[in-house]
């Protein structure tokens, strides 16, 4: 049982590195789907109660099916250039990712006071996923990639919750799901509009308010 959990965490970490390295948005969306699958497996591994099964299928359907479908549709509608022009180069991202992984292992080591056992791997995986999500939001230019980054960040939080064996209250997971679902919907709409307004969808070119006259404070 334990090694299944560990494989899930390891796959999550590998998926994060792949995300940092991927240059095409379509690739990112696939990685996202993979992470969704992994996450849906988690509740089953603890104990296969009816609520867990129902809940796992719910996560699977949302994270592995709905989100990727919506994002691909948005991508097609927008027919944006496939590749991604990041603010931080790919190799640099991977190196920063590595540093973050080491930091998260150190952090989970320091927070050993949590539940014992394999929590070390779980906490570090979730911290690293969260970091990857935030890093993608900050360093990628495309609006869709930022949405992907945000979803990865949410996955990280969900992973943190489940790895701390807090499975007994469904409310928090529901909250996460709700949050994700509506967020993706919303950004989809917004991305559509971004597309309609001008050709490319990177958010960097939208500078602040235009060059107004200077009010000289004599």
């Amino acid at each position: 049982m334990m090694d299944w959990l560990q494989t899930v965490f390891v796959v999550m970490i590998v998926a994060d590195f792949a995300l940092l390295a991927s240059s095409r948005i379509a690739g990112c969306i696939n990685i996202l789907a993979l992470q969704g699958v992994m996450l849906s497996v988690l509740p089953l591994l603890n104990h296969a109660s009816v609520s867990n099964i129902f809940f796992a299928s719910l996560i699977f359907s949302i994270k592995a099916l709905v989100f990727p479908f919506l994002l691909r549709r948005a991508l097609k509608m927008v027919n944006a250039k496939r590749e991604v022009e990041p603010l931080v180069g790919y190799s640099a991202s991977i190196l920063i990712g590595l540093a973050a992984l080491i930091f998260s292992f150190w952090l989970s080591g320091r927070m050993g006071s949590f539940s014992p056992g394999m929590a070390i791997l779980g906490v570090s995986a979730s911290v690293f996923t969260m970091f990857t999500g935030l890093f993608v939001i900050v360093s990628r230019v495309k609006a869709i990639t930022q949405v992907v980054g945000y979803v990865v960040f949410e996955n990280g939080i969900y992973l943190l919750g489940s790895s701390l064996m807090l499975e007994q209250n469904m409310l928090v997971e529901l909250g996460v799901i709700l949050d994700l679902l509506v967020f993706v919907l919303l950004s989809g709409i917004v991305v559509f509009h971004i597309n309609r307004e001008f050709d490319h969808i990177d958010t960097d070119s939208m500078d602040g308010d235009g060059p107004g006259r200077e009010v000289p404070l004599r």
Partner: protein
């Protein structure tokens, strides 16, 4: 005390009445004047009775807001300022009736005028810090709107803005001052401030904050930036009230804090003294270099505030060094100068207002020969000018005489006082003599260029004396100048109680004796003034007797035979001031736009000088520009992309987490 409140309420109510559109402009002015008049009677009564036999009247009523209870206290110190306030407000509202009468009904700012007077009266009697701040800010707000009276012009708005910011700076200092005073208990009553002990450090901080906070209102040197801009911008009755009374509230604030703090340190006296000296000398030098008559008078307010600070600084030194004679006389001189300055400064502003209304220009160099066309205004301005330069027969001399007497006491007491007192007295005398002489020169220039000689431009042709309603307050004020000048001895008797209140640290008997001695000297000064007047009348009578039988021919002024001399050839303001100001050139930094006489045949050319206020330029403008530059730099973040801002959020999280882990 209820008379007092009734007076204030009537005042505000009269102001409100002026909002009704149906009421004509003049009627509006009369209502406001009536309000001021009954405020004079209702509030003035208790104030004067308070001066004669000191029995502090107080009233306390809790309000719903925690910490703010409606507690008022009328004691001698506030009575003096109240008398000045009510007298000047009454006279300037009378003056304002016809001053505002002319321009359309809606423009008369009577509501704000009465609110200003009412809030000043309440500031003087409030004994709760919260209440004090409430009325202090109401005063600042109403005077801000009054300065904005003719808001059409750009520089009026600029002046009003600078005034608002500096009065807000003052408010910030005063708020922190009251908090420091209320430290142990947190109770906001002045009484509890007085009897709670303060550590030396807190007392020093409170003292410096009071100088900064109330200085921003009194307008001495480092905080004077708004004064030469706000007073010319305001209409004349308002600037008469503002520079006559409102800046005195800054002095009242400082004195009130000194009374509350009780134990002084010698270096406090020296700080006040040095502020007084710098304000006095720099104020009069800048006044000398001004062309705009109201700016000239505004800078002179700074100089007179400097003289008042000299007096109070010497007073504080006297208390610290244990020489009651010096402190009693110095405080008496300072308080009398507060009264005198409010009299002759509002007189000068009223005359300036009449002249500006008649000629339509502020520039002194465009006027000339107005004495022939506006004899009464000219005479009043002359009285005011000689009073402000401290010439003997008038009231300016009496208060400066008291401060001189205090300094001489300090010196002749010699060793007993202590080194600071000797240095203080010497500095006071030298500064006062310099300021007196320069003020004399400056007002000789003002009177000479404006009223004497020939009219320099055609704008003086149409000038004539304003109507009686405007002349009456001027004459009343000139009369008061002469009265106090000759009857100085009665003024000192009136001042005895507030001075004793300020000096209650030392033995009252010694202070009493020195005050008696001063009134003996002032009696003789009065007699000498009367003798002088008799001599002058005798001389005039002798001259008319001698000339009765002889030929008296009118002719042209001596012009060494050059018959084409025009009015423009007369000495102008800047040429009159140039020799004196050469000595202070590094202080002034006057820009000269000299004539470029290049073509062989003389073409028309012009020469003009402009004296920027170096302190304002070097201090105020740099601060404002620096702030706006770094704010522009920071604003770039606001325009930054989403990524930068999200990064900010994440970085903030990590920084706080790391900090709390290390120090948590």
């Amino acid at each position: 005390m209820d008379f007092f409140l009734a007076g204030v309420v009537i005042l505000v109510f009269a102001g409100l009445l002026s909002f009704f559109p149906s009421v004509g402009a003049r009627a509006r002015g009369r209502i406001a004047f009536a309000g001021n008049l009954c405020a004079l009677i209702l509030c003035g009564g208790p104030a004067v009775s308070q001066l004669l036999h000191p029995a502090p009247v107080s009233l306390m009523a809790a309000t719903s807001i925690p910490g703010l209870n409606f507690s008022l206290r009328l004691d001698c110190l506030s009575a003096i300022f109240l008398v000045c306030l009510l007298m000047i407000s009454c006279l300037s509202s009378l003056y304002g009736i016809s001053y505002f009468g002319g321009q359309g009904s809606s423009s008369a700012p009577w509501f704000w005028f009465n609110v200003l007077v009412a809030s000043m009266a309440m500031v003087l009697v409030s004994a709760n810090a919260f209440l004090f701040l409430f009325f202090w800010e109401a005063m600042a707000l109403s005077s801000f709107f009054l300065v904005l009276h003719d808001s059409g012009k750009k520089d009026v708005r600029e002046a009003a803005w600078i005034y608002a910011v500096s009065s807000h700076f003052g408010l910030v200092c005063i708020i922190s001052l009251f908090f420091l005073l209320s430290l142990p208990g947190g109770d906001m009553e002045f009484a509890s401030f007085a009897n709670s002990a303060h550590s030396r450090v807190i007392a020093a901080a409170v003292f410096l904050l009071s100088l900064a906070g109330f200085g921003a209102k009194a307008g001495f040197i480092p905080f004077h930036v708004w004064l030469p801009r706000a007073h010319p911008a305001a209409p004349s009755p308002v600037s008469a009230l503002m520079s006559g009374v409102m800046i005195k509230l800054g002095i009242y604030g400082i004195l009130r804090v000194l009374v509350i703090l009780g134990g002084f340190e010698p270096w406090w006296g020296l700080v006040i003294l040095s502020l007084g000296i710098t304000s006095g000398i720099i104020g009069v030098v800048f006044a000398f270099s001004q062309h705009d008559i109201k700016k000239l008078l505004a800078y002179h307010s700074i100089e007179n505030i400097g003289i008042i600070m000299l007096g109070s600084g010497l007073g504080v030194l006297g208390i610290c060094c244990g020489v009651p004679a010096v402190s009693a006389l110095a405080f008496a001189g300072a308080l009398l100068h507060v009264f005198n300055h409010s009299v002759f400064k509002s007189l000068l502003f009223m005359c300036a207002g009449a002249v500006i209304k008649a000629t339509g220009t502020h520039n002194v160099d465009e006027m000339g020969g107005l004495m022939k066309k506006m004899p009464v205004t000219g005479a009043c301005f002359l009285t005011g000018a000689s009073a402000i330069s401290g010439l003997p027969v008038l009231n300016g001399f009496v208060s400066e005489f008291l401060i001189f007497l205090a300094a001489l006491h300090g010196l002749s007491a010699g060793g007993t006082g202590g080194k600071e007192l000797v240095y203080g007295s010497v500095a006071t005398v030298v500064a006062l003599s310099l300021i007196g002489a320069l003020a004399l020169g400056c007002f000789a220039k003002a009177c000479g260029i404006m009223f004497l000689g020939e009219g320099r431009t055609e704008c003086c042709n149409g000038a004539k004396d304003p109507c009686v309603a405007m002349l009456l307050p001027m004459m009343v004020l000139s009369g008061i100048c002469f009265l106090v000048g000759i009857g100085g001895v009665f003024a000192v008797r009136l001042l005895a109680n507030p001075v004793l209140e300020l000096v209650e640290g030392l033995d009252a008997r010694q202070a009493e004796i020195s005050l008696l001695q001063a009134s003996y000297s002032l009696g003789l000064v009065g007699i000498c003034a009367l003798a002088f007047l008799v001599l002058v009348i005798g001389g005039l009578a002798a001259r008319t007797l001698l000339l009765r039988g002889r030929k008296v021919l009118p002719s042209v002024t001596w012009d060494c035979g050059y018959s084409e001399s025009t009015a423009r050839m007369q000495y102008s303001g800047s040429s009159f001031a140039r020799p004196t100001l050469e000595f202070f050139c590094l202080l002034l930094g006057t820009h000269r736009k000299g004539p470029e006489i290049s073509p062989p045949f003389p073409a028309t050319s012009s020469f003009s000088t402009h004296t920027p206020d170096f302190l304002e330029d070097s201090l105020f403008r740099h601060v404002v520009n620096a702030l706006s530059r770094c704010s522009e730099f920071i604003c770039r973040i606001e325009k930054g992309s989403v990524h930068l801002q999200i990064l900010l959020v994440v970085v903030a999280l990590f920084v706080i987490l790391a900090w709390s882990m290390l120090y948590g």
